[in-house]
C-alpha cells in the first residue's frame, strides 16, 4: 500500500551504488521526480557541499519514521568524510526534502573511523 507522504526523488547518476527507489512508488512524468512513500512519512535529502554551493546527490523516501525524522522542515547536519562535506536531513512533510531550509554549520573534520570492528558489522 502507498502511504501518504510525497517526497522529491532524485539519485545522482554518478558513483551511486544501490537505490532507495524501493521505498516508494515513483510518479512518472513529474518534473523533479516525485515518490509516494510506501510505509513511512519521512523524506530524506543528501547534498554535496563544496565551494559554498550545495549539489543534490540523493533525495527520496526514508524507510522508517523512527530514525530522527521529527522535523517538518529540512534542517541539515554536516558530515566530513575523506575531504568531502555532505549535508543531510530527514524531515516529515510533503516535499520537505526539495530544498535545505536550515543549513547545519560544518564542524571540524572528525577522526577517521574505519568500518572494521569499530562500526556496524558490515559485509563491505
Amino acid at each position: 500500500p502507498v502511504g501518504n507522504r510525497s517526497c522529491v526523488f532524485y539519485e545522482t547518476p554518478h558513483n551511486l551504488q544501490g537505490s532507495m527507489r524501493h521505498q516508494g512508488r515513483l510518479l512518472a512524468g513529474a518534473e523533479h521526480g516525485t515518490i509516494l512513500c510506501h510505509s513511512s512519512h519521512c523524506c530524506f535529502g543528501i547534498w554535496n557541499q563544496s565551494h559554498g554551493r550545495l549539489q543534490a546527490v540523493m533525495q527520496g523516501c526514508w524507510g522508517s519514521d523512527r530514525d530522527g525524522c521529527d522535523s517538518p522542515a529540512c534542517k541539515t547536519s554536516p558530515v566530513h568524510t575523506a575531504g568531502v562535506i555532505f549535508q543531510r536531513c530527514l524531515c516529515r512533510s510533503d516535499f520537505c526534502n526539495a530544498n535545505v531550509s536550515q543549513l547545519g554549520a560544518p564542524a571540524a573534520p572528525q577522526g577517521e573511523v574505519s568500518p572494521g570492528n569499530g562500526g556496524p558489522r558490515v559485509g563491505l
Binding site: T12, H14, N15, L16, Q17, G18, S19, M20, Q23, F44, I46, V57, M58, W62, G63, S64, R66, D67, G68, S77, V79, H80, T81, A82, V84, F86, R88, L90, P109, Q110, E112, V113, S114, P115, G118, G119, P120, R121, V122, L124
Partner: protein, 105 residues
C-alpha cells in the same frame, strides 16, 4: 517508563550513528531488551526455550548458575544505511540492526 522493568521486554533505544562514513541516518531506533528473567516465564515473553526453563528450575532448587538467564533480542530486523565509500554513495541494508522481539536465554 524509565524505571526497572517487571519482566523481560522490548524498550525503545536510539543509537547515534556518528561515524563519518555513514551519511544517513544520523541516528536510528535500535531498541533494547530489558527486564528480569524469572519464573514463571509467562506468555508476556514468549521467546523462551526449554533450556531457559530448566536453568531457572535449577536456580529455584538452590543450584547456583555461573550465568543466569538473560533478557536478549530473539528477533531482529534490518536497517537501510547510506554510506560514503570514498568514491560515491552506497545504499546498504544492514541485517540485525533493530531488536524486534525479546526473550530469556
Amino acid at each position: 517508563s524509565a524505571g526497572p522493568q517487571a519482566y523481560c521486554r522490548l524498550q525503545e533505544l536510539t543509537i547515534n550513528l556518528r561515524y563519518d562514513f555513514i551519511i544517513v541516518p544520523v541516528e536510528y531506533t535500535a531498541n533494547n531488551c530489558e527486564g528480569p528473567c524469572r519464573r514463571p516465564l509467562s506468555t508476556r515473553s514468549p521467546g523462551y526455550s526449554s533450556h531457559t526453563v530448566l536453568l531457572l528450575e535449577m536456580q529455584a532448587r538452590g543450584t547456583p548458575l555461573r550465568r543466569s538467564p538473560c533478557c536478549v533480542p530473539v528477533k531482529y530486523s534490518s536497517q537501510d544505511v547510506i554510506l560514503f565509500t570514498g568514491e560515491g554513495l552506497q545504499v546498504t541494508t544492514y541485517p540485525e540492526m533493530v531488536a524486534e522481539e525479546c526473550g530469556c536465554r
